[in-house]
Symmetry: D2
Subunit: 121 residues, 4 copies
């Protein structure tokens, strides 16, 4: 299982999975976004009627379902990066850097206001 810790290895496995099944023809970007939306929807369904406390101590069954849905989201997400030929590690590093600039610690501390709605001081 170790290898899958690496995004690149994971991406290759997912690509091969699609290729083996001749599913590349289904994996147009819009289709994959619909699939991603589907999996996020399934995740939402696990949590929708839980109260705050229940979401912090999931039943075993809900926890297993959540793990499966999170994994499905990851799989389609990695596949989308691949199909769009966008490097996930680079995109994430660049976005983390942008976020650091949009949300500097001194302005964002304890405050989740979107950067473009933050009141000037």
């Amino acid at each position: 299982m170790k290898s899958i810790f690496q995004l690149e290895t994971l991406q290759k496995e997912i690509r091969q999975f699609a290729k083996d099944r001749d599913w590349e023809k289904f994996h147009a970007p819009k289709n994959l976004i619909l699939a991603l939306s589907g999996e996020v929807g399934e995740l939402a369904e696990v949590f929708q009627w839980l109260d705050e406390n229940e979401t912090h101590s999931l039943t075993k069954s809900n926890r297993n379902e959540a793990a499966d849905e999170l994994a499905d989201i990851m799989i389609y997400l990695i596949r989308l990066f691949d199909v769009l030929d966008i490097n996930p590690a680079e995109a994430v590093a660049a976005k983390m850097e942008k976020n650091s600039q949009k949300y500097p610690v001194n302005l964002a501390k304890g405050n989740a206001t979107k950067y473009n709605k933050r009141k000037q001081r």
Copy 2:
């Protein structure tokens, strides 16, 4: 940038980012799922009016937006795994294994029918 290729390192960076900003209190599971749904929605908006050809040769501007949205989805997804204390690498490996069994190559070849709707033969 190399370190971020590893899911575990990435997860630590995202956790620290939230901690530095005292944002842990906002990161309840349901809130993070709403945020994830928000980012998938933003990705969908980049593609919604593009025709098939346009989705395969994105303009530079659309490509940059897509990269940012995909990164945001990844960041919230990794954060959700963390908050729910589910190991992403293990969950994905387990789900890939399940998918292999649900969609064996001989039955799934060229055919994206959901496993539980596949006609028995």
Copy 3:
């Protein structure tokens, strides 16, 4: 504003809006579902970092944004019914009837368990 209380009238207005702008070519079902997902995502963003109390007494600004996003969802939803030639009033009435059967008051009272996960007694 009275006329718009009727689903059918509303549907005609939305159809005319698209026709006037020659937007029918953009309104393929998958595109409209992506647009719907985009609007639900924008709604989610209004609420994602609010705590329970804040969601029950929205600021004026959040309330106006929520109203706009809910309206956008309604507009795309009505448009999807139209493009797929599915009658909204009939579909909703049929689904309400199904829900009554899946969730009879005696079994569902105070209990949001999905009908197919309800424990037999």
Copy 4:
């Protein structure tokens, strides 16, 4: 079935359905948005692997599923308007008016560019 053509009547029926089942406690705004996201996800799953032609001539089974999912989205949407005490007819009329101003026919004809990205001429 006639009565349900009216948004207001429909809203009352949905409210009563929740009340009868003592489900009001589950219908916090964030929960309903998660539920809405879940239903949009289910709709997306009906269409995700269909090609353009297939989406325009759905099989009977897909069409029935789409009708059910669209109805579910409508039900949760109407419920959200109710719980947030936002009048759906007024919100939709106001948004249609805004859209008319953002997308005047002469600028928007044949062109789905978002109003704030439209090139000045």
